[in-house]
């Protein structure tokens, strides 16, 4: 198991290098000069040149990349150009917040999808299954930023039940408070994933129910709950895999939802940084997300291997 994970980690290195190159280059081709977000609009070229040198932007690209990567590997993601803070200080809390939101959404989506998906796979012809199928399709078609606004309109402005923005009441805090602030963003974020996951769970479980070993289990006369356990365990690698991918999608779509809910997450930070040409933040942010995504897939693979002896021994 440990060697499996290590091997996978080794395989990830080229991918991560590629990611870092793209991250680096992506920002290089963005028009606009980060210097402009530092100096006053009427600054002279000489004033700009000074700042440019300070930022190391006057070196050749390869050198810039080398320097950047060298520092990144040491955990130094540089300083934010516009916010004058170490990037890590800016990103890590934001990443934590995004992970809270994304994990809550993924967990909610996962649980709901599992229940509904398994139910409709077991009773494909039932009306409830048809209803769920319709609903999950519908949820896939809903733009989540739009849903977010509507949710705020209903639950915060009109009914006043839930807060409309932020992740804590001013001066307040604590678990209950966080949960209250989580509900709407989670709902908006999880929505489309619930649809995707439900459908996937349903088709996976339906597929497993067709398999011979499930018939064989029935033929052995074991309890239905035991059979369900077998079904779930067999479906779990696929389901987890897709949930992992969805987690990535959720992580990404958080940009939109975070903006609407003023959720202090990494999506907002990156989006703002793109606007401000704050290269170090964008580079680090995208890198962090991409790495998180890659690691997440590794985790999913590892769970898969832990659950499936065939993979483990391959």
């Amino acid at each position: 198991m440990a060697s499996f994970v290590l091997k996978r980690l080794a395989l990830m290195i080229p991918t991560l290098l590629g990611v870092s190159i793209i991250v680096f280059l992506m920002l290089k081709i963005v028009p606009g000069d980060p210097v402009n977000s530092i100096v006053a609009p009427d600054a002279s070229e000489a004033e700009r040149a000074v700042v440019r040198t300070q930022l190391g932007l006057d070196k050749p690209i390869v050198a810039q990349y080398g320097i950047w990567l060298g520092r990144v590997v040491q955990g130094n993601l540089g300083d934010s150009v516009t916010r004058r803070l170490p990037v890590t200080e800016l990103l890590l809390p934001a990443l934590k917040n995004t992970v809270i939101l994304t994990a809550a959404s993924a967990a909610a989506a996962f649980v709901i999808a599992l229940v509904i998906g398994v139910y409709s796979a077991y009773r494909p012809a039932s009306r409830i299954a048809a209803l769920f199928n319709g609903l999950s399709l519908a949820s896939i078609g809903l733009p989540n930023f739009w849903v977010a606004l509507i949710l705020i309109g209903i639950f915060s402005v009109t009914l006043g039940w839930l807060p409309s923005s932020g992740m804590s009441t001013v001066g307040g805090g604590g678990g209950g408070d966080l949960i209250k602030h989580l509900i709407l963003p989670t709902a908006a974020t999880a929505l489309s994933s619930v649809g995707v996951l439900t459908r996937m769970v349903r088709s996976t479980v339906a597929g497993i129910l067709q398999q011979d070993h499930i018939f064989a289990l029935q033929a052995k006369g074991v309890r239905r709950t035991t059979i369900l356990a077998h079904v779930l365990r067999n479906g779990m690698p696929t389901i987890l895999n897709v949930t992992g991918l969805q987690f990535g999608a959720l992580l990404a779509s958080s940009v939109l939802v975070e903006t609407v809910f003023s959720w202090p997450g990494i999506g907002q930070v990156i989006y703002q940084a793109i606007g401000q040409r704050d290269f170090p933040v964008v580079q680090a942010g995208v890198l962090v997300i991409a790495v998180a995504f890659v690691l997440l897939n590794l985790l999913v693979d590892a769970i898969h291997a832990a659950m499936d002896p065939r993979v483990r021994h391959a």
Binding site: P14, T15, G18, V19, I22, M26, L27, I29, V30, P31, G134, L137, A138, I140, G141, L142, P143, F145, W146, L149, I150, G153, V157, R199, M200, S203, G207, G248, A249, L251, A252, S253, V255, L256, G267, I270, Y271, I274, V282, V286, I289, A290, V291, F293, V294
Partner: protein
Amino acid sequence: MTIHATTARDAASLRPISREPSRVLLIWRAFSRRRSALIALAVLTVIVFSCVLAPWVAPYGPSEGEVTDRLMKIGSAGHLLGTDEQGRDILSRILYGGRLSLLSGVLPVLLSSLIGGALGVIAGYFGGWTNTVIMRSLDIVFSFPAILLAIGISAALGPGITNIIISATVVFIPPVARIAESAAKEVRKEEYIEAARSSGAGAGLIIRSHVFRNIFSKVFVFSTSQIGVCLMVASGLSFLGLGVSPPTPEWGFMLNNLKQLIFVNPMVTIVPGVFIFLTSLSLNLVSDALSDALEIKR
């Protein structure tokens, strides 16, 4: 050449099988058995046609209107879906806007299916290093969450519908390629590929005549299911202000413009959202039914 082996006679006495309907007809039959899919197809057809024919069916031009007539309610006389912040007829703008929206939903998927499909097939068919290089490179792109990648590309290239299409295309290439690759890998193992190789056919011919044919429906079904997603990514990018230039209407862009009004005049704001929703829901329903009709499990 005239041979009449005895077995030929055996075979001739096979139970005559009546000429069965063509494949397309069979698929259509299976498809049309689902009422929801038919309704969705109808909705989609209406939306697509009225958008394409917008200059003829829209009651007003896309930028006609007086600011004094602004923000009329849904159902107002002469303005079925109300007017927007500049006093323009929302229905007309939706219809005109649909052209770009649909284009930005369909074109990236089409392009990415072609590019991703080709890459996937090449990777899947040849395997080995070719596969490693192509698929690992795509993995890199895939490691970037889609929307972020699209935002990045759009930000790099500047706003505009062309750039949205380009970035959405890039975003959708890796998943298509993955589907195509795994399908091509499967097909590669089939004996008819070996048979083709042993008849002396080169890789190009085999890919063109066997592999593409056999992965087509998988890629097709996946792609159709992505149109709705793509529509949403594109409108999300427009929503973030990376989309079209005014006064060109586009759904995501309209939604963005009207967003300010959501707590003031919600009904007017809801219209573009509803259209995005309806279109993508219909697309999903159609693609869903289609995949069943083509008997492809996803």
